[in-house]
Symmetry: C2
Subunit: 146 residues, 2 copies
Amino acid sequence: MEELDQRIVQLLLQDGRMSYTDLGKATGLSTSAVHQRVRRLEQRGVIRGYTAIVDPEAVDLALTAFISVKPFDPSAPDDTPERLVGLAEIEACHSVAGDENYILKVRVPGPGDLEDLLARIRSAAGVSTRTTVVLSTPYEARPPKL
Amino acid sequence: MEELDQRIVQLLLQDGRMSYTDLGKATGLSTSAVHQRVRRLEQRGVIRGYTAIVDPEAVDLALTAFISVKPFDPSAPDDTPERLVGLAEIEACHSVAGDENYILKVRVPGPGDLEDLLARIRSAAGVSTRTTVVLSTPYEARPPKL
DNA sequence: GATGCGCTGGTCGAGTTCCTCCACAAGGCG
DNA sequence: CGCCTTGTGGAGGAACTCGACCAGCGCATC
């Protein structure tokens, strides 16, 4: 990816609502040119979308946890992600190397909901779980430096 | 938080670039009223910012990993997050319950960079590390359901 | 080595839409 | 009643978006 696109992406990572006009000023391009490039980045899949960064506690999702997941039957075909995709509390699902197969990042209002969620995960995917509760998060969702 | 704010936040989680006019149509409020509410949400810290969601591979950050971190000296005052905040490869830092003290989420171009980063983490924070490499991520950064 | 063609990626301008601020109204509440 | 909060509506200015046009470049053709 070339220099200009990279700078545009960098700027949009830092402020996803920046206007095309400002992006143009920051990159030395005209508004239309920037707009065109952003559209291309979007349809190439480099930019997958935009979102607000929200304080989880303010929306009643005070409890974050990582759940490591391992199928009961390692020989069965592994469709864990599809089985879990319907659980909205799961923010992310990573397939990982190591003892367990997947790491899930989940957010729930409180401990009771976590207990409930764990039961639903186990029954939906046929897996055993190991949960690591997040006590606090010093930082999160930092934009990467390109 | 009341119903209307919640719906606005929900919409902005799904599309961080939605215009105030559209937010108004979706919530039945006038453009000005929505704008006012969003501003309040921002300055109350409910909305911390906006960002583009970018395909990591497209920006040469193909390797994601979780690094669990534990100080060499458990009795020393723990300022690990501050010591690591300067390392741009670290996307998130969570203090967790369990055997280790923190879980870091990091992104680097490749294995060599991970090795290098681990060395920098250890020397900067005086910690031992255990890293879990992400093989693939079925989904990530899903907007929570409010 | 020129000529000419198509492609890519840029500027410019104009019409439309959106943002943003302000004045004012409607509803709690002491 | 007065005050605070939260809405509405409108107007001026800024931003978006589209089309027309242009410059550079690769390349087949003469």
